[in-house]
Amino acid sequence: MALLQIAEPGMSAAPHQHRLAVGIDLGTTNSLVATVRSGMAVVLDDEAGRSLLPSVVRYHADGVVDVGHVAQSAQNRDPHNTIVSAKRFMGRGLADIEDVASLPYRFVDAPGMLQLKTAAGVRSPVEISAEILRALRQRAEAALGGELVGAVITVPAYFDDAQRQATKDAAQVAGLNVLRLLNEPTAAAIAYGLDNAAEGVYAVYDFGGGTFDISILRLSRGVFEVLATHGDSALGGDDFDQRVFCWILEQGRFAPLSANDARLLLTKARDAKEALTEHTEVRVTAVLSTGEMMDATLTQDEFNRMTAGLVNKTLVPTRKALRDAGLSADDVKGVVMVGGSTRMPCIRQAVADFFRQTPLTNLDPDKVVALGAATQADVLAGNRAGDDWLLLDVIPLSLGLETMGGLTEKVIPRNTTIPTARAQEFTTFKDGQTAMSVHVLQGERELATDCRSLARFELRGIPPMVAGAARIRVTFQVDADGLLSVSAREQSTGVEASVQVKPSYGLADSDITRMLKDAFTHARDDMYARALTEQIVEAQGLIAATRAALAEDGALLNAAETAAVEAGIASLETLLGGSDHHALKRGVEALNAATTEFAQRRMDRNVRRAMAGQKLENFG
């Protein structure tokens, strides 16, 4: 007979109508599926009792697809058809992948997202991820004894629109109903029950094999809000292995290594690192294929010394995230540890020292994200009474649009919580303008060309009006899954146009990091570029206005005065070609000063003209 789980009071399901829901941590290296059984979140194991499913998919020529451990074991034998880390390619174009040359795959550049040529044909990262999700779905359905009503799938907090959409598409291909995409740090916080904890700010320190992410969350009135995220997409446990590997090479003084020996020593390095999480020293021995031998002891102190730099590297983004959130370490009420690398005592110590408190480590750091996702899935599937969680996530990079002069106007700033909608009014630039092009951008830079273009659309049918008279309201709306739609509406006529942004391809972790870094390092350049553009627009406007005034009222000036104004225009015009916005500003000021008297006379004359023939009472 069917096996039952204990339900919340009054929440028993009718027979055959159990609302089976799971949480899935779709990871770069490993994936997990978890569910809530009798009120308790548990990770679901496979037949062999393993909870981690390697995120590896292998395609055979006959159409057979291996997923997980089987595929992983073929990685060295069949590298072209064995896809590892497909998550890195989700929603990305070929141009986005920096290390294309070092990857064994046969990439196909396709519009939108890259694809990979395998023995079974061309596959997109979405299809590859779908294979992983399908394997997890089958595992869950076997373990729960029925069909799933849906799943909560976690994504990195910095995943952009394209990457989130690609994740949703993969779930759909796998036959999973996505209840919600949930940010990984938020899931970790939920797993620790912080949603029921005291209000305040929490930090999620996620240190995996190859990436580091720090997120600052705020819990207020039962609502989670991601205040800031930062990270290093090229820093992980593997770097610690590398340090130990170097230490082994120093100890062993080996001749140049063969690939097999190098792999052996790297494994020894990892084993040593892992042993040091529980022991204060570890003996490292190895016999190479050349007959060379080593036997040395690595102490935890020595290990800590040689990896101190790496540990410190995680604290840089941590500081930045706190700064983005406008907080200091003392404001943080609790710290959640996620990812296998947080098992290292030196990491725990560094985090404890940094935040001046003991971080939360009692849940398995590899499982914590999946457990939190399962808890959220249970709520969304309707298995909890009275719980009314609204989880807020954050926009990783500012969203905005391009304005005249190629500048970026931010409509929704970075780290705004979602769902959100913001509107801003724009107007027409030319007399009789009947259409407006809306160019949607994502990024922190001041110039549109430095930001990522997400979409373009046109609002047509604006009634002809003088420049500046039309009122066009542009609304940016980001839904709970982080997907953007933009609409533009001319207020007087109600003409409307909109676009659901499914960007052609998106930004990945490293891109975001780079773009943010660019924003910081180029902040000064950007400021200059913006100042220069603004001054150019201003100078051009002033020159045009002065010329028009001279043409109309040149008679108000004597020859010398006219020459002075014209000299001012000429010198400002020569400055227009330069790139010094300070000089340009001085030029504008000089021309303004040179024309003050002229402007005064024009004003007086106009007032006299206007007053002529009027009776005094009209001015009362």
Binding site: M1, A2, L3, L4, Q5, I6, A7, E8, P9, G10, M11, S12, A14, P15, H16, R37, S38, G39, M40, L44, D45, D46, E47, R139, A142, A143, L144, G145
Partner: protein, 107 residues
């Protein structure tokens, strides 16, 4: 009249209640629904209801309302593992036949 828990079931229930952080026991019931007429319900109990029968089995409080009890008398609740799946199982001597999956039954 009695309803009991197997030792394994009692252990799991205590564990679940501890993890949940609240609850005075579990509530077993029978509702009329499903393809064979009646169905079990199994819930955490946060409070007692007037008329509840209380059975204490291996230290766990089991609440049953009087109407349900007539269908559940003699039942032992067990915790079982079948393949990857695991959960609670009603061993109810009153059941004459049940639907294929056993989720609903009649007496």
């Amino acid at each position: 009249m009695a309803v009991t828990l197997s030792e394994r079931a009692a252990q799991h229930i205590s564990n679940f209640i501890t993890k949940r952080g609240k609850g005075i026991g579990i509530r077993l019931g029978v509702r009329t629904s499903g393809c064979s007429g009646m169905a079990y319900s199994l819930e955490f109990a946060d409070e007692t209801t007037a008329g509840d029968e209380l059975f204490v089995s291996h230290g766990v409080n089991v609440y049953v309302d009087p109407q349900s009890l007539s269908y559940l008398d003699g039942t032992e609740l067990d915790y079982a593992r079948e393949g990857l799946n695991e959960g609670f199982k009603f061993n109810n001597p009153n059941v004459k036949n049940s639907c294929g999956c056993g989720e609903s039954f009649n007496v």
